[in-house]
Amino acid sequence: MSIAVVTDSTSDLSPELAEKHGITVVPLNVHIEDDTFLDGVTISSDEMYRRLPDQKVIPQTSAPSVGTYIETYEKLAETHDEIISVHLSSKLSLTHNSAVNAVAELGPNGPRIEVLDSLQASMALGYSAIRAAEAIADGSSLDETVAMTKSTIERAEAIFMVDTLDYLVRGGRIGKAKGFVGSILKVRPILAIQDGIAHPLERARNRKKGITRLKALVAERAPLEKLSVLYTTDKDDAEAIAAEVASYVPNGELHVAQLGPVVGNYVGPGLLGACLVRAESS
């Protein structure tokens, strides 16, 4: 009896990580003018960030269709008995909802599928999918896997600094952070995804001070079980940060991840951040 793990492209799992853990990644869609791209498949992150600053064409995004999920689940059902499917925060996207609807469409005769709302994005979602895969590899049942994945979801958080809130505002994905938009001064807002929505944490007077604060925010959350440093366009900055925060995770094992096109559409170029899972308190 085997269990498959499904997540979506906003998890920012690299192809290597996805393959290593045997995770199936369902892509969201990016619409630019009349063209539709598959998130991270037919449009790369770099291409997306190159296009983003063009204010005339605002890219749109959409959740995977119910049909896409049905196809994915049916295909996996050929080789697996059960499926756990973990997705982008339901408060930010219909991606989770689409998966739930696909399961309903498949009906009671299909495989048993547990759909989980990660209430997170990027590697803060990715780590929940990895946790599920690890649990399954350890021989856990689906129920046990769901419980362990939920525990990871509770401890996962994405923290990020954006160059500007413009992208969050124009995409409407901002929650309480809306009131945070302000200052005539060029400030760098630092936000966190908490309870599924982007919430303001702090404002830094410039990028350098913001990076210092990001590192401090990561340190405040230690000890950590998982950690990745996140970027959209500035890999060098991300790697420099990674070198300094590696001590907060066991064996210094952390990832440097590029935010994918869909979520990137709402935060813009210049983002730096961290996705983490706090250690279980003993």
């Binding site: 009131g179 302000g182 303001p200 702090e202 007077r205 410039n206």
Partner: protein, 558 residues
């Protein structure tokens, strides 16, 4: 002088109310002189005005019925003095009335001992009320007067004899202030607030002795061999209810080969606070005049006039005063009506800075207009705090002279009020950037306090008179820069002085924010931005329109 045993027929309370009314008249008559003494180092000559407005609010609350006993009169004194206290000097003045109330206690008659006790309390409280008490100020005058008053009252408890001795000592004490505070000596003035107190005692004594008018113009007690050069307007003796601001007159002169210095001198002769800036082809003139026509006539003798703007500052001042008196709420640009978890109340002058604070406050901030020359009173601040849409309020005084008044607010308000001692609007903005509506009031308070030490604040302004400070000879109209209150650069051209100021701090700066004055044109702002960005390419420099009065530039160094 009348016999010290003279009893005034109508009883003690009218003696007390008459004396307080007389002190107000006396300060009215000498307000310009008191203001003129308070010129160092930036042109915020407002001690006299602050004292007068504080006294007026006390007088307004006095019982109309002059047969009330002293203890009944004194009951309202402490609170109304504190609520009306405006600026540092007003607050120190309020300590005297608090002292008077405490000293009188249940007594129905005001005695010499009460007077001595009240000055002693005022002295002790004032030294405690200020973070860094400085000698050679109103504090010294209080303290020395208290000593003389106590000795005098021990000899003879008669109110008149104690008041006579104290009034004489106050003048002598003021005369000595330049010996204690070198900056007064350099500026060739004596302490303005101390002189204001001497003026009050003079008025009180004249009322007690039945002399008229109670408010007479007093000579400034200068040290031996010195005379006070400040001009006192003769017509000020019958000080009107309204503050005499005149017209703020702004226009441009276009011609070939304009001599800016000559125009500046001309404007200075006929008006007040002139600012003349520009090039050989075009000059921008800003001057305060009783008769704006005179300024235009003068201007037209140099070339063609354009962009003429005349604002009646009397109206502005009257509106402002009326708003305050009505007391519904202080001038609040954007009443933050929607309830918020934590509200912010900030003192700001200037439209650009107001917008900046509002935007940075994220829907939680309301504004009390004020700053260097218009210190809001405790009651202004209290009203804004009470009107703020939360029971948790963070108060940003944004001016070191407003900090003491702000610190009185938590004790008077029914709300949980935290005062962040922002000494300037620049530190206020930095503190507000730390504000996070989703955090607790305690967390916000400590985060905001923490940043205060990380910000250096500087300013560039034009000297309102010739002055020598810390060895810098600054002539009227010259630009000078201060950083954390030390004078660091002097020059003719404000932008060059700003350049020098930034150069001095470039090494330890990461970000410098420059706020520009209301009189600066967008072209001047962009010139400033370009000049600075080119020169200081290693630092992030952000130039923002501040619209503040008085200061050509305000800077924050972080």
């Amino acid at each position: 002088m009348q016999d010290s045993t003279t009893k005034i027929a109508s009883g003690t309370s009218s003696r007390l109310t008459d004396m307080i009314r007389a002190t107000t008249k006396a300060v009215e008559a000498n307000r310009d002189t008191i203001n003129a003494l308070n010129v160092f180092p930036v042109p915020d000559g407002d001690t006299g005005t602050n004292m007068l407005l504080t006294l007026r609010s006390i007088v307004e609350d006095l019982p109309a019925n002059s047969t009330e006993s002293a203890n009944n009169v004194s009951k309202t004194l402490a609170r109304s003095a504190l609520l009306g206290a405006r600026g540092n000097s007003g607050l120190i003045l309020a300590q005297y009335f608090k002292g008077l109330a405490e000293a009188i206690g249940d007594a129905t008659e005001l005695t010499g001992k009460h007077l001595a006790r009240s000055i002693r309390i005022a002295s002790d409280n004032s030294y405690k009320a200020l973070p860094n008490p400085v000698e050679g100020t109103m504090l010294t005058v209080y303290r020395e007067c208290a000593e003389v008053a106590e000795a005098s009252a021990a000899r003879n408890d008669s109110l008149i004899s104690v008041l006579e001795d104290v009034a004489a000592e106050s003048l002598a004490s003021v005369r000595r202030t330049p010996e204690l505070l070198p900056v007064l000596k350099e500026a060739e003035v004596v302490d303005s607030g101390g002189f204001g107190f001497a003026v009050m005692l003079d008025g009180a004594l004249r009322a007690l002795c039945g002399e008229q008018p109670v408010g007479r113009i007093l000579d400034v007690p200068m040290p031996e061999g010195k005379t006070f050069s400040g001009s006192v307007k003769a017509d000020f003796v019958d000080a009107s209810e309204e503050i005499d601001w005149g017209y703020c007159t702004v226009f441009a002169i276009q011609a070939d080969n304009l001599d800016l210095d000559k125009i500046r001198d001309h404007m200075d002769r006929i008006g007040r606070s002139p600012i003349v800036d520009g090039t050989e082809d075009i000059a921008k003139v800003h001057v305060h005049m009783e008769n704006p026509g005179e300024a235009l006539t003068a201007g037209i003798s140099y070339g063609q006039l354009s962009n003429i703007e005349i604002a009646n500052m009397d109206d502005q001042a009257a509106d402002w005063a009326a708003d305050r008196r009505e007391d519904d709420r202080p001038i609040s640009e954007t009443p933050a009506a929607t309830p918020v978890d934590i509200a912010v109340v900030a003192v700001v002058a200037g439209d650009g800075l107001t917008d900046l604070i509002i935007s940075t406050g994220m829907g939680t901030a309301s504004i009390v207009e004020g700053g260097d020359t218009m210190n809001p009173s405790v009651s202004d601040l209290l009203a804004a705090v009470e009107a703020a849409p939360s029971d948790q309020v963070i108060l940003l005084p944004n001016n070191k002279n407003v900090v003491p008044a702000a610190k009185e607010v938590p004790g008077l308000s029914s709300k949980d009020v935290r005062v962040i001692s922002t000494r300037s609007v620049q530190t206020g903005v930095a503190a507000l950037l730390e504000f996070n509506a989703t955090q607790s009031l305690d967390d916000n308070e400590s985060a905001m306090n923490e940043v205060l030490g990380e910000i250096g604040d500087g300013r560039v302004c034009l000297a309102s008179r010739d002055v020598t400070v810390h060895g810098h000879e600054i002539r009227k109209g010259m630009a000078f820069a201060t950083f954390n209150d030390d004078i660091v650069a002097v020059g003719q051209e404000p932008l060059l002085v700003l350049d020098k100021l930034i150069t001095k701090h470039a090494a330890d700066a990461e970000i410098i924010t420059v706020y520009t004055r209301e009189t600066l044109t967008p072209e001047q702002v962009s010139t400033a931005t370009e000049t600075l960005e080119n020169k200081f390419s290693d630092i992030e420099i952000e130039v923002v329109y501040g619209g503040q009065p008085h200061y050509e530039y305000l800077i924050a160094v972080e």
